[in-house]
Structure formats: structure tokens, C-alpha cells
Symmetry: none
Subunit: 425 residues, 2 copies
């Protein structure tokens, strides 16, 4: 079954609100085997709404509408639908009784509006609103629109969400005979084009019904593999096959085949290895520590972080030697290495990551340009020996982007180390 | 002029992403005197896209498209437009040269994709992509679509936003023959409804052509005052009058009447006062330091940060007393105060901010619930006396939102102190 969403509300067209309702509905329907093919945002205008309903009902099995069901003058949804479908509005006694009772319970005098609120389209399946007043409706449009469904819901997110969960998803799950499976492949350290190069052959040969989407973001690019079909077993198998092939071809860059963040992935390695981590940051300014502690339960493995902007603080807090700073400069692999080592020892950690670089926009030179970062990783070995690795990474962007990419490179270095350590076990 | 937005991308139809691009475009166009009447999200499918372009170009003066301009196979936008408009694709030498140069600078071998990337629709006004690869285009559809405009932009938000600001808004502003002035009022520590209450009378009495938009975000709410008209002097005056009235009515919450961040505002105070700051963080995990160092030139005033998750690290690094930790608990104003004092002294700073709280989802109790944070502010006075202030702030959200709001509350405390100090001078 194919669905489309019509969101009604001027506030969505003036940039005041983002259409988060549509996102919720898409997610919920995906789980019911219903694919959404279109989302339309439309103004609070009775003619525009009716016209949109006609267009949408013509081409889609299900049209889900949010908004415009409230009590005020600009709420036109119900009237547009009624006019288009040439149906009567009838009083739903149960909706009316429930809302009057709700008013009474909260000590309010039932408003005359409650009667208008309880008027529903004749023949509609009524969905009670557990979180608010306006009832939802599922209307089976038999005559004019080939048995397609028009679903009306309020625009208030918690009211709509409750209706989706309790009534609408179950209703269409039963009706839909298709299965849709989505999988995620999360990568780090590779751009969209390079990734496409690596997996070209796989992409050219995906089974029918399976498709691939690239989802680039500030720190990297993720992939989504979607498979659709009738037989759950076949759909699952097709999907898994593609995911496994990509994960193998891009192994070096794939940190997960589920929808988790790189910092969550690192957290799982640290917990399973019983390891504690610390961070020493210059140019990332606390962002590495902040990302590591974005993970619930990170206090189990994250010990502490140092944000050492000045040379003085690098020496005092981490024991970086003034000779190294003078000889190599603050932005150097030598300083990154000493930062990581000092951080590990002072925090009593098993692993420490450090960053020192030039986020920009100023402070770059030919030898050390804006977008350059030196990273250090200290790793405690047997007999308290400390192993140090360092690397240099280049990117180009504005200050905020550079910070994000530097932090991603730092987390990537940690992830790779943890993965290698686990492989050795 | 009437516009409509077409957002392309399966990730918007599966519920993975919310359509925040559309919101940005609506806001930006409002500023150019262009009203958006419809937003459509459409799948990555060449036929569906072409059909949608035709529908939209038929009824709207401007159709703005985001997404599907990337290098991979599922990026169909350019080809759909080319087919629909019956135009050739031609290589734009400048786009090609720029992208090759960008690859070279970052030490990568130019990929064969770069040539496909630089193919643009014949006759289009090309918009260079300062933040990424794919060029944008403004296509004037003379023959078939009554001189309407088709605008193609990438789907990556920062790339699209830069194009809107630098090229597209100015282009259509000029076409719409109107003068538009936007001002920003940046607030902290107040919600949308409370702010609306405070400025209701002003809002009810704005001059004709001036409008107000509330722009809520994770950390607070900003306002945009837009004035539109023919005469620049009148438009400027109308706009300024409203901005001044709001800034006065909501003085306690307004940190700027220009588009700067709270951390930039703090940076300006610190630079002008010749003051140095440091941060000691538990529950914010480095986010306060990271936000302070998001500001270009922050190395002039940001000395260092401590991320002290464990009790042990609070004692060792900041000199928090073990008795205070035992008696009051790690999440307490007493510990926050000692953290700030220790941080100030150890960093040799003039001011230090600290946070200790419960970001969740676990770790809360009745007395100290998830969403509670204690903040400390240490301020160096004459004769090296240190003044300590503490406060407790409550919010409720998931872990990431709590971290953002905690960091906002901490920065707000710093901002207020700096403002008061300056007022005393």
C-alpha cells in the first residue's frame, strides 16, 4: 500500500515550525509495511485543502492528514473533506459524551464548541482522542476514490502520535500485505563519492525490490538499505545479503550495521573490554569529551577530559615538555603524543585520545594550514607500558565544521584501536 | 511572488530525517517578500520528480528544490529537470576547475565524478557551492512555464543555506522590487509562550508590513522581526522601532539584537574586559568548553577546561573536598561552588564556570531528578579574593537535550555576570 501525508498549517509555510509530525508518521507506517511516497504541506484554506485531498486520493491508497481539526475559525480540514466527499456531518454521541465528561472532571463548564467538535463525517471510523478533544477519522472513500482511505488526525503531536499507535498503524498493518525492511550501515572516514566507488558493483546488482540511499551528514556518510516484498523471509534475506556485502567491501570504514553513533559504538567496545578512557583536547575544545559523554551510561568508562588551549595548560595539566612545544610547535604529532600520554597517566585511564590543530579561521600557515589536526592515542599495555600512536589529518571547512571533523577523526582513531584490540583477543 | 518547495529524498519519506531544509527556506524567503504556498516531499525517482516539477512550475512563480544533486546514482534531480525542460547538460568549466582544485588541495586524486558533478543545465545561472561539491542552479523556464523559476540546490543543509544567503535570496529580493529588513533578537532563559506573553502588546501593534517570527531551538528561542515595503527609510524605521520595544520589554532575556550566538556575546564581553575564563564540567561533558571555543579567536580568552566525571577526578584536578562530596553529593551547589573555585585557581583565570547534574536517562532520584543541574560561577575580585555564586536549574528532556539546556544555563550565568560587571564599570 502506498501512502501520502498532507500536513495542514500556515505555521509550516512561514518557517515557524518544522514538520516533525510527517517524520513520525513515516516512521510508524514503515513499520506497518506502508511506504510513504509523498508529503505535502498545504495552507489553512478550504479550497486548497479540498483540491489537495482530491489529487492525493486519486493516486495513493492512503492519505493521512494532520492539522486543521481544532476549534478555531482557521481549522477547515473536516469541512473540506465533507464537501469533497459529499458526505453529511453527524454528531458522534460517544465523542460528545466523553468530551463533556472530561470538561466536567476538570471543573470546566462544557463549551458550546464541544458539539461542533463531536461532528464527524458520516460513515467514518472514529478514533477517540486520548490526549485532547478533536476526534480522528478513517474514511473509506468507496465511490469516487477507488476505495482509498482518507485519515484525519489533529496536528498536536502527542494527540496524533497516540492515535497512530493505538488505531491507525494496527488498522493498516492488517490491510497491507507487503513487508518493508530498512537497514543502516554507518561509516566513518570516507566521503559519499569514494564510498560509491567502493560499492559500485554491489549497487549495480541489488535484488529487485531492494534499494540503497546515501545519507551524508557533517561528520560522514551513512547508508540505508531498503527492501520491499510480500514474503518476509525473502525480504529479510535480500536485505541482509546487500548489507553484508557492503559491510565487507567497505569494512575499513563501516563501524556498525545498526543505527548507532560512532560514540555509542566506542562505548560498547569500552564496556565489553572493561576499559576506561580520557581525552586531552586543544583545537576540538571539549567536543570529543562531549561526544563521548553523549552516550547514556558513559560515566562507566569515561574518566575525564582536559581542554588545554594554552601552552601553559598543556605543560601544567598534561606534562607536555616545554622543549617539545618550542621545538615542534603546539600543533605537532610530538605534542599530540605527549598530551595523550600525560592524559592517560594523570587520569589513570587505559586509553587516552588527544587533539591539537588549527580550527581556523585564523592561525594557519603554509606548513600548518587551517584544517590540520594532529591526533595522539595512548594505550596502556602490560607492565604499565604505554604505547603511543600519532597521526595527522587534514580537512577544510569553517571553524565549526573543522571541529566536528577533527572530533570525528579522533573518535575514528579510538574506534580503530578498539576494534584491533578486540580482534587480537 | 509565490513559491513552492520540493524536497527530494527517500530519507524524508522513511522517517529518518525531518525536513528542516524546508523550514529554513520558508524563513529565508519570507525575508525576500516571497510567500511559500506549498511544500512537497518527493521520492528519489526520476519520473516522480519530473512530474512534480511540472505540476509545481505550472502553478508557482518559483519552485525551489533541495536534494538529489549529489554524485551518486540515486541523485536524479538534475536529470529530471533536464528532461522536463528539454535542455542539454553542459560542462561548467569554472565549477569543474574549482572542485578539481579543492580535491588537489586536500591531497586527493580528482575523481571521475567531478566531471559529472560539474554538468549543469544549459542556460542556468550557476551558483557555486562554497561548502561542498554540487553546484546550484537558477533556471528561468521561459517557454513552457510562463517565465517561472526552477531553483536546484543540494540537500546538505549548510550547502543549501550558504546558497540561499549568498545568491538566491538576493536574486529574488531584487525581482520582487521590495525592500525587506530583518532583525534578530536573541534571547536566553525564556520559552516561546512566556516570551509571547511579555511582548503581546508590542506584537498586536506592529506597523503594517512588519511581522514577527518565533524561532525556537534546542537551547531557547530567537525572534525575527521582518519589515517589508517600498521606501527603505520607512522600512528601517518601522523595523528598528519594534526591535527596540521588544529588547526593552524582554530586557532580562535578550542578549543581542544581532544574529550572534550567546558564546559570541560572552566572547565580546571577555575581550573588552580583558578577562580570561575556564570551565569545569561534569554532566555537560565538555559541551560548555566546546561552545565557548566555537568562537573564532576564543584562544584569546579561553584558558582551559576540565571534564571531571568521576568524584576522584573532581578531587584531584579541582581540589573538591571529599567531605563535601560525601556530605552533599556530587550533584550539589556546594560541589559546583568548589569546582568553580578550584578551576579558577588552577587555571589562573579571572572567571570560571562549573556544572554538575544529572543528564539522564538514569541516575535520577526524587531529591535529585534527571534534568537537574547545579552551576557554580567563580569570579576573581580585587586582592585575589574569589567570589562564588551557585544556582540550580531544572529542565526535562532526553540526555542530549538536557546537555544542551544545561550548557545554555551555564553560559547564561556567565553572560549575566559579565553584563552586570560591565554595568558597574
Amino acid at each position: 500500500m502506498i501512502a501520502e501525508i498532507v500536513s495542514i498549517g500556515d505555521e509550516l509555510l512561514t518557517g515557524q515550525k518544522v514538520n516533525s509530525n510527517a517524520r513520525f508518521i513515516c516512521s510508524a507506517l514503515a513499520g506497518a509495511g506502508v511506504g510513504v511516497k509523498r508529503i505535502i504541506v498545504c495552507a489553512d484554506n478550504e479550497d486548497a485543502i479540498a483540491e489537495q485531498f482530491a489529487d492525493s486520493l486519486e493516486r495513493s491508497d492512503i492519505v493521512l492528514v494532520t492539522g486543521g481539526l481544532g476549534p478555531t475559525r482557521d481549522d477547515r480540514t473536516k469541512y473540506s473533506a465533507q464537501r469533497l466527499l459529499e458526505k453529511e456531518l453527524v454528531l458522534d454521541q460517544e465523542v460528545y459524551a466523553r468530551t463533556v465528561e472530561r470538561y466536567r472532571r476538570s471543573g470546566r463548564e462544557p463549551s458550546p464548541y464541544l458539539k461542533r467538535n463531536a461532528m464527524v463525517i458520516d460513515g467514518a471510523r472514529v478514533i477517540h482522542n486520548e490526549k485532547g478533544l478533536a476526534p480522528g477519522m478513517i474514511i473509506h472513500c468507496l465511490e469516487r476514490f477507488q476505495g482509498h482511505y482518507l485519515v484525519l488526525m489533529p496536528g498536536v503531536p502527542e494527540e496524533m502520535e497516540a492515535m497512530m499507535r493505538s488505531a491507525i498503524v494496527p488498522f493498516f498493518s492488517e490491510k497491507s500485505c507487503t513487508v518493508i525492511v530498512h537497514s543502516h550501515i554507518k561509516t566513518t572516514g570516507i566521503g559519499e563519492t569514494a564510498l560509491a566507488d567502493i560499492i559500485r558493483v554491489i549497487e549495480d546488482n541489488v535484488p529487485d525490490g531492494t534499494s540503497l540511499a546515501y545519507l551524508p551528514h557533517a561528520a560522514g556518510v551513512d547508508l540505508r538499505v531498503s527492501s520491499i516484498g510480500i514474503d518476509k523471509e525473502v525480504v529479510d534475506k535480500d536485505n541482509r545479503k546487500v548489507v553484508e556485502a557492503i559491510a565487507e567491501a567497505a569494512e575499513e570504514f563501516v563501524y556498525a550495521t545498526s543505527d548507532i553513533t560512532l560514540e555509542e559504538c566506542i562505548g560498547r567496545f569500552l564496556v565489553s573490554g572493561g576499559l576506561k578512557i580520557a581525552a586531552a583536547e586543544s583545537c576540538t575544545g571539549g567536543l570529543v569529551a562531549s561526544r563521548l559523554t553523549d552516550v547514556a551510561g558513559s560515566s562507566r568508562y569515561f574518566l575525564q577530559g582536559f581542554v588545554v588551549y594554552s601552552n601553559d595548560s598543556k605543560e601544567k595539566n598534561l606534562g607536555v615538555r616545554s622543549e617539545t612545544l618550542a621545538l615542534r610547535g603546539a600543533v605537532s604529532e610530538e605534542v599530540a603524543g605527549e598530551m595523550a600520554q600525560g592524559c592517560l597517566l594523570r587520569a589513570g585511564a587505559d586509553m587516552a585520545i588527544s587533539s591539537t590543530g588549527i580550527a581556523g579561521p585564523d592561525g594557519g600557515s603554509e606548513a600548518k594550514p587551517v584544517g590540520m589536526v594532529c591526533l595522539g592515542l595512548a594505550n596502556r599495555k602490560e607492565n604499565n607500558r604505554v604505547e603511543i600512536e600519532t597521526t595527522t589529518f587534514y580537512t577544510h571547512g569553517d571553524r565549526l565544521r573543522n571541529k566536528i571533523r577533527f572530533s570525528e577523526a579522533a573518535l575514528r582513531m579510538v574506534w580503530k584501536k578498539l576494534r584491533d584490540l578486540q580482534a587480537q583477543d
